[in-house]
């Protein structure tokens, strides 16, 4: 057993201080307090308890007992407050009254209300009582906030309350153990331990333990949304007595508690459920580290993280118990590190709607306190209440009557009851079997007792080759059209079955003469013309395989492909001949050889079922291209089963719009084998002509891949009317397009299909209804088996995530000339006929109720960012649901670290920012792409797959950028603002490390308990209330600053219009953001405020609101305002003090407004407004450019430090302000800031300027400036000035 350091003891004395009324919160309380701040509308952290009083309740005695109880336990008189500095405190009140509701017989509503109504945590007592009249006697129901109690405490509460009650009704003195300390004493004692120095080793432990951990992601039945839903449901299962005894024995032998064993079984079940080896869950433990705490009511619960490694093929249950025990011991030893600190240390973020680090918790309440069973204790009463789920899933176990009782509480918003029932069943099975046979490998335990995989009905596919089938059609319907479309070298626009067969026979004979035969490969490079089927059929008739090559490939690559495939010949359309190298295989140019002399009768059959019918090159995302080799038997399987799901018989016309190199073209064999028609024609890369082709050729059956459908849906699907079936392939089919097709094409069957080339084009089809906005891939087609297997190749249960394996007659032979690669992808099939193989797709899916398979993503396209496993297809699905036409999500390595990038195509009106907002409503924040990049079209490979390599790179974020870069369709984001810089600085101070404007607070050591402090810093900055919640939604200083601004927008009077532009200065260079506020309407504008430094010294939206209000009150005339931000906040100081700055304002900036206002602009001069250094610049503008500025408002400026203007200039009106607290700001010239303002004011007045100096309170803050602005503005803008001259 590894040596695990014991938990360090708290070296400080635990003492009671009777004088103290204010205490810090304990670490656990702080966490609960925080959770409450996130959502005050409801609260799932209530603890309830009820007791029966068969003999009835003596109400006066109860009142006395409750009063005694609150006197005895300080915590019941305690309220929780947030102090101005962002710290929290609990304050003990002198006396409180417990609210008691006498509900009578109609008590249910009162009990429910008591249990669910949120408490105001600042107002004690956090306890309420309902007295109910039951059938027999009374019921007493109590509800408390968890922050003052826990389960154990409820037993204490019951004991104390009843002793007090008994004593009161009997008129005697109560007899209860003395309480040497109170909860506040405990909290302070605990906090003393929580200094950085003392915590360091513990934090280091957690960082080590959780390094590279993977978040447990059990497959949910419904996608996770951004909505909060604490509605819970529960399910109880019991372990028989015998198994419970065996389980206890295993625990004893492993020197572990039964709680460890029940946890180990949960870990095993979760590992199987999620397919993850690295299982991280939470565990709830009761923590009363000192005997003095035993009799207290209070929150003594701790949550620890358990990380258990389940890997290893042969891991036994006993081994897992040992690993779980070690995880428990280590967690227990380091439990003093508050959970939030761990979250901060491992940068697990603070997911507003998701618990950090884990979503599943275990709580073994095996050792119930003895108080509950004490003689004379009243009987518990459990009125039925709605279940609340604090976690996605929790397991509470308890042993009662020799049997283990396991209660699963889950969120029905995420999981179906059947899913949890299956999990619970699996859990009990693992526990029972593990206890019985602890030395068997877990995998076997898990499998044992499960119904064996259904035996496969190996109904072999018919083996007639396409050659035989087409020849038969040529006999049966010689004159019926087989192929129509663009005329080629050998055939016109129409080719009957007879003509097709005869042409193919001649060509086949020519090929045989050139040495083509069984086992050979013939490359083809053909135009989309009608004769291509004669060519393919001819090759097949020789017994050879055709191998389409793409004329667009570079010659070197074509040469490699041809020699790699061992092509005997390349048949090429004349127009493409120059593209194909002739040195790798001889060329046969269509139309060149004269075929007229060859016999038109069928040549002797050559191809056997095992012979290859074709090769298809798959580019593969990495490495050299490989060719999938498909035998006739596999093609026969496709063709034979097709009529059961494709409308391709006689009288139908089939079209697929892809090139021959794309394996969907193989589907064209199915109509030919069944007497239908095929259209072969080029429809343009973007299917420009598709609608016309469908109409002109009477296409009935159209096969598209999902991006193609999206393209058509963008236009008008109704133009495809006349279709009888539309088949859409691809793993993620846009539900919007799919539903649009169903709606706009009445009478047309719309089918989704899925299948890798390795399984001969198709593996599954789907045409049913679907839910949750996802189109499933459906059911296997005939002669095809689909398995969903876990990493040990064992079937997963329905609903569980598994890797998709395909088996049956459709399997390819393998990768041509790549035995190793083939062996790795085509594995022995344990569930098929002896000796058969199955293909590992690398796709992940699960079986839905009803049997259809839902595609969940690529096993290799699952990305991991900040501990979260993200299924990129999940995000793609969500983007499609929210209005993106197409979407591709990838993980990108940016300079700032790994990021999730979504490339989206939207129709014209689509706004990327709005899309992001909608995503927020349905996806958890960690799944929201860091970058949303609008692209005109998803780049496709030649095979119509998404070409991830061609997606544009994301521009690295500019430091201080306001909006996430890459948004807004390519235009540069406007320069950032000073508020951002200030927020970043405030947060950096709280974090103790620098945080850039674009960096996520929670990814850089921030955690929720730092949020109150970080928010308090911002509140001080702004001088107004800011909700704590804002930070969890806007996690970077840039986003937060932006949110602060928009948040204050509603206060803006509707009379002002805001225009935001980016403006380039000729004088100083650089792009600047300019916010123009212009009065609405046609009225003349005679006054203008030019606000320097943009929002650096005031909420940008506030000043316009002030101006608008003053104008509304007719205290000032209609005024416009211009906010100018510096080009770069880091060089702001240099810029503001630049000698050219006043000229820039007068010569460049004012004309911007003049241009905007046109006729409304009345020649008038502006007032410059600035704070701090901006104040210096504002005064300079007024003194140096009196032609542009009539005055200035200068707030808290270090005016005496700088040369302001020429000794003599036209008189200006100057409003100078300083806060009295700024007397402690010393300037370089030895004056303090207040003196500087005073002295400068005197000097300027002496030079003939109109000066008003004002002094206020509030320091060098936004708040102080904001409070003086109304007066300053109305003075500066007022028309009647004479009175003000002093």
């Amino acid at each position: 057993m590894p040596r695990i350091e014991p938990r360090p003891t708290n070296p400080f004395p635990l003492l009671h201080d009777p004088a103290e009324r204010r205490f810090p919160l304990s670490a656990g309380q702080e966490r609960l307090w925080w959770l409450r701040q996130l959502d005050s509308s409801h609260d799932q952290y209530h603890i309830t308890g009820g007791w029966r009083f068969p003999a009835g309740l003596d109400l006066p005695a109860l009142t006395a007992a409750l009063a005694g109880l609150t006197r005895r336990h300080d915590i019941l008189r305690t309220g929780f407050v947030l102090r101005p500095d962002g710290t929290t405190a609990q304050e003990v009140a002198g006396e409180v009254e417990v609210p008691v509701v006498r509900a009578g017989r109609e008590w249910r509503a009162a009990v429910e209300r008591a249990a669910s109504e949120p408490f105001d945590l600042s107002r004690p007592p956090l306890l309420r009582v309902v007295v109910a009249e039951l059938e027999d006697g009374h019921g007493l129901f109590t509800a408390l906030h968890h922050i003052v109690t826990d389960r154990w405490s409820m037993d204490v509460l019951a004991r104390d309350l009843f002793e007090l009650y008994d004593a009161a009704s009997a008129g005697r003195a109560p007899s209860l153990p003395a309480l040497p300390v109170q909860y506040g004493d405990y909290a302070r004692w605990q906090r003393r331990l929580l200094t950085d120095d003392l915590l360091r080793p513990g934090l280091a432990h957690w960082e080590r333990t959780l390094a590279g951990y993977e978040r447990l992601e059990p497959p949910t039945d419904r996608p996770r949304t951004g909505r909060d839903d604490a509605t819970g449901a529960s399910l109880v299962v019991e372990l028989p007595e015998e198994d419970t005894a065996a389980m206890t024995a295993v625990a004893w032998r492993a020197r572990a508690s039964p709680g460890v064993v029940v946890t180990a079984a949960l870990v095993a079940a979760l590992s199987a459920f999620s397919g993850q080896d690295d299982v991280v869950i939470g565990a709830i433990i009761s923590d009363r580290p000192r005997p003095e705490l035993q009799d207290l009511i209070g929150f003594f619960v701790n949550t620890v993280v358990l990380r258990v490694d389940v890997s290893g093929r042969g891991t036994t249950f006993r081994e897992l118990v040992t690993r779980t025990r070690d995880a428990w011991l280590a967690a227990d030893a380091h439990q003093d590190v508050p959970f939030e600190r761990i979250v901060g240390a491992v940068r697990a973020g603070s997911e507003e709607r998701r618990n950090p680090i884990f979503d599943v918790v275990v709580n073994h309440a095996g050792d119930r306190t003895a108080l509950a069973e004490a003689p004379g204790a009243p009987e518990w009463w459990y009125p039925e209440l709605p279940v609340t789920a604090r976690f996605d899933l929790s397991l509470t176990t308890q042993t009662a009557g020799g049997r283990l009782r396991a209660t699963f509480v889950y969120r029905p918003a995420l999981f179906d009851g059947t899913t949890i029932a299956a999990l619970a069943e699996r859990y009990v099975r693992l526990l029972a079997r593990g206890a019985a046979e602890p030395d068997r490998p877990l995998r076997e335990l898990d499998l044992a007792g499960r119904p064996a995989a259904a035996p496969v009905a190996a109904d072999p596919a018919p083996r007639a080759t396409v050659v035989e089938l087409v020849e038969a059609q040529a006999v049966r319907r010689p004159r019926e059209t087989a192929v129509t479309g663009t005329a080629g070298e050998l055939a016109g626009e129409k080719l009957s079955y007879g003509e097709l067969n005869r042409l193919a026979n001649r060509l086949a004979r020519h090929l045989v003469a050139r040495g083509v035969g069984r086992g050979r490969v013939v490359a083809v490079c053909l135009e989309q013309t009608t004769d291509r089927f004669a060519v393919l059929l001819a090759i097949a008739k020789c017994g050879a395989a055709y191998f389409p090559i793409d004329p667009g490939f570079p010659p070197g690559r074509l040469r490699f492909m041809l020699s790699d495939a061992g092509a005997a010949l390349t048949i090429v359309s004349p127009s493409l001949a120059h593209r194909v190298p002739a040195d790798a295989a001889p060329l046969l140019v269509l139309g060149d050889p004269d075929l007229a002399g060859y016999d038109t009768g069928n040549p002797p059959p050559a191809a056997r079922p095992g012979d290859l019918a074709y090769l298809i090159s798959t580019s593969g995302s990495t490495g050299a291209p490989k060719s999938v080799a498909v035998p006739h038997s596999a093609l026969s399987r496709l063709v034979a089963g097709a009529p059961r799901y494709l409308d391709i018989g006689p009288g139908t016309t089939f079209l697929q719009a892809g090139p021959l190199t794309f394996d969907v073209s193989v589907l064209e064999w199915t109509p030919l084998a069944h007497g239908g028609r095929v259209v072969v024609t080029g429809t343009g890369a973007l299917l420009e002509d598709l609608e016309a082709v469908v109409r002109d050729h009477g296409v009935t059956t159209l096969k598209l891949v999902s991006p193609q459908l999206d393209l058509l849906a963008e236009r008008d699907l109704r133009k495809l009317s006349g279709l009888r079936q539309l088949v859409v392939g691809g793993d993620v089919v846009s539900p919007r397009s799919f539903l649009a097709a169903r709606e706009l094409l009445p009478g047309c069957r719309v089918t989704a299909s899925y299948g890798p080339t390795e399984c001969t084009v198709l593996a599954t089809v789907f045409d049913g209804g679907f839910r949750d906005g996802r189109v499933p891939i459906g059911h296997p087609i005939p002669y095809t088996r689909l398995y969903l297997l876990d990493r040990d190749l064992r079937p997963v249960q329905d609903g569980m995530r598994g890797e998709i394996y395909l088996a049956g007659d459709g399997l390819a032979r393998g990768y041509h000339g790549r035995p190793g690669l083939t062996a790795q992808a085509f594995l022995p099939d344990p569930y098929g006929p002896p000796g058969s193989r199955m293909y590992r797709t690398g796709d992940v899916g699960r079986r839905l109720p009803g049997g259809a398979v839902d595609f969940l993503g690529r096993a290799d396209r699952q990305v991991k960012i900040r501990g979260y496993r993200i299924e990129t297809s999940e995000v793609e699905h969500a983007l499609l649901r929210h209005g993106a036409t197409s979407a591709v999500v990838v993980r990108a390595e940016l300079d700032t670290g790994p990021a999730l990038v979504a490339y989206v195509v939207t129709d014209g009106s689509g706004d990327v920012a709005a899309l992001r907002d909608r995503l927020r409503a349905t996806l958890p924040a960690y799944m929201i792409p860091d970058h949303l990049v609008r692209i005109p079209r998803v780049p496709l490979t030649r095979n119509n797959k998404v070409d991830r390599a061609s997606l544009p790179p994301v521009a690295p974020p500019r430091p201080g950028a306001a909006a996430p870069p890459g948004e807004g369709s390519g235009t540069a984001a406007p320069p950032g603002n000073g508020l951002e810089a200030n927020v970043a600085e405030a947060w950096s101070r709280v974090l103790g490390r620098p945080l850039a404007a674009g960096e996520d607070f929670f990814d850089h050591g921030g955690h929720s308990l730092l949020v109150p402090r970080a928010t308090a810093a911002v509140r001080r900055l702004l001088g107004r209330e800011v909700p704590l919640r804002l930070m969890t939604r806007h996690r970077t200083p840039a986003a937060y600053a932006a949110a602060l601004l928009t948040e204050s927008l509603p206060g803006l009077d509707a009379g002002l219009l805001l225009e935001r532009r980016t403006w380039h200065s000729r004088t100083l260079g650089g792009d600047r953001r300019v916010d123009l506020f212009v009065p609405d309407g046609e009225a003349e504008v005679t006054r203008t405020l030019v606000v320097l430094d943009g929002s650096d010294f005031v909420d940008v939206m506030r000043l316009p609101a002030i101006v608008a209000r003053l104008a509304g009150d007719r205290r000032v005339p209609e005024a416009a305002a211009i906010f100018l931000s510096p080009a770069d906040w880091s060089s702001r100081r240099r810029e503001l003090l630049d000698d050219a700055y006043p000229d820039l304002l007068a010569d460049e900036l004012l004309p911007v407004l003049r241009d905007r206002l046109g006729d409304r602009w009345r020649p008038g001069r502006a007032v410059a407004v600035g704070a701090s250094l901006g104040a210096v610049a504002a005064v300079r503008a007024a003194l140096r450019r009196p032609d542009g500025f009539e005055g200035a408002i200068a707030l808290s400026g270090p005016l005496s430090e700088h040369r302001l203007g020429p000794a003599a200039s036209a008189p200006a009106r100057l409003f100078l302000y300083a806060s009295r607290e700024e007397a402690d700001i010393m300037l370089d010239d030895g004056l303090d800031l207040v003196e500087a303002v005073k002295r400068t004011g005197e000097e300027l007045a002496a030079r003939g300027h109109v000066v008003r100096c004002e002094y206020g309170d509030g320091g060098h803050t936004y708040a102080a400036w904001e409070s003086v602005l109304p007066e300053a503005v109305s003075w500066a803008l007022r028309e009647d000035r004479a009175r003000d001259v002093r």
């Binding site: 095992g610 012979d611 032979r813 035995p819 085509f826 099939d829």
Partner: protein, 62 residues
Amino acid sequence: MFDDGEFHVVVNDEEQYSIWPAGRDLPAGWRPVGSPAPKAECLARIDVNWTDMRPRSLREGT
């Protein structure tokens, strides 16, 4: 994971090769060839030994 540990090179009656985790029951119709080895080694061995990827029945014309 199916990707770690040792594997057997296995072959079926059609002389198609594949791999299978060592220590696990081999599906019917397959037999191991040689001793277990890491996956990459097994695949390299297959690359050397499986020279004709046609199924045996096809090769022998049955």
